[in-house]
Amino acid sequence: MTPVTELSIRLNPHLTTRHITALRRYLSETRPLTGKQWRTLFKAIDLLSESNVWFRNQEYTFSQFYAEFVDRVHASSFLDRLYRMDDSHTEGERLRAAKARSIVQWLRASGLDAARIEGAEFLLVFSLYWWTSFCRGYMFELTVFRDLEASGIQFIPHDPRLEEERYAPNDFYLGEFRGDVKISIYFLEDLVALQPTVDLYISRLYDSRRRRYQQVVFMKEQVWRHINGDTIPGTVPQAPGLFPQAISFTIRGKSWVLAEYDVWKAKVLQFQAQTKGEEQ
């Protein structure tokens, strides 16, 4: 990339009006997006990640820029403070917003101001998107870990405050099984992979009819069988109407089970108590 000025941005040429509309919708919308809207947004973010910024006499992709000037500066202190909070949701949201404001101010003060540099608004949106995803992801993860601990479930969580554990291939171990806690739906890519790398995902989905979030667990069939669970066939959209029964469905020929988080937790507790009893 040949620098036109000390600061310049070159957007991915595949970014279209449709993607820009998706970014604007994401910024303004508070209601759930449709499947198609999410996919267009993900595509827009992917395209932005391969856009370039010339900054301090060096070229960065947006992804590299985020890693260097946002994640490296703010991630550790956010996680340290989050883990010291009693209410990781409410207090975490406040901290997320405060740090987001300081990211915006820093970008402007560094000259990457949408009013001055063409395309700088996209770098700002890209940075805020990943910052929000990062914060919300770890806020949800910590809430789940604390709940599992309080429920007495035996599991081994990673500690994202330690860099090597933050980038571990999975977030926790439940016996021999590898688990992840995911608020975003990027893990769908793993679900449809020929060799999924994780055995169970704790997530939350929105029940539009009842207008509430529901915590759920997606797991390979053998995980559910291991704790003696029964299933009925169904699809993910049918699940809220079929719960508390766990539903089984197939992805690329592989069997998966979707269960309510509390139902799954009760089964795990029962299984672990039984196994402990047998060992004594």
Partner: protein
């Protein structure tokens, strides 16, 4: 001189307001069961590497396939695909009870 528009038609002031609102609410992180199912179906459909159409005729009590293109080969009512042989057999329809 007209005011510069950014992010598909916003003034700088409108963009700043949009960003402040976003920082406050944090965007739509809710994924509905329906949206999840839609994306899953799309991804699964996209993961299909190749579609091969298989045609054939019914001769007596068996089906005879026309030769398709690679990677599938056929022999009469047998289909060979990457080490798997599928044998297609027709049976009499059972009368409805």
């Amino acid at each position: 001189m007209s005011e510069r528009k950014i992010l598909g038609g916003l003034t700088i002031e409108e963009f700043d307001e949009l960003i402040e609102g976003y920082i406050e609410h944090g965007g739509p992180d809710a994924v509905s069961f329906t949206a999840f199912g839609e994306i899953l179906a799309d991804l699964e459909a996209e993961s299909v590497q190749e579609t091969v159409e298989l045609t054939g005729v019914v001769r007596g009590d068996t089906i005879v396939f026309d030769q398709p293109r690679a990677p599938i080969t056929v022999k009469g009512n047998e289909i060979f695909l990457r080490g798997t042989k599928l044998i297609i057999k027709l049976r009499e329809a059972q009368p409805a009870v």
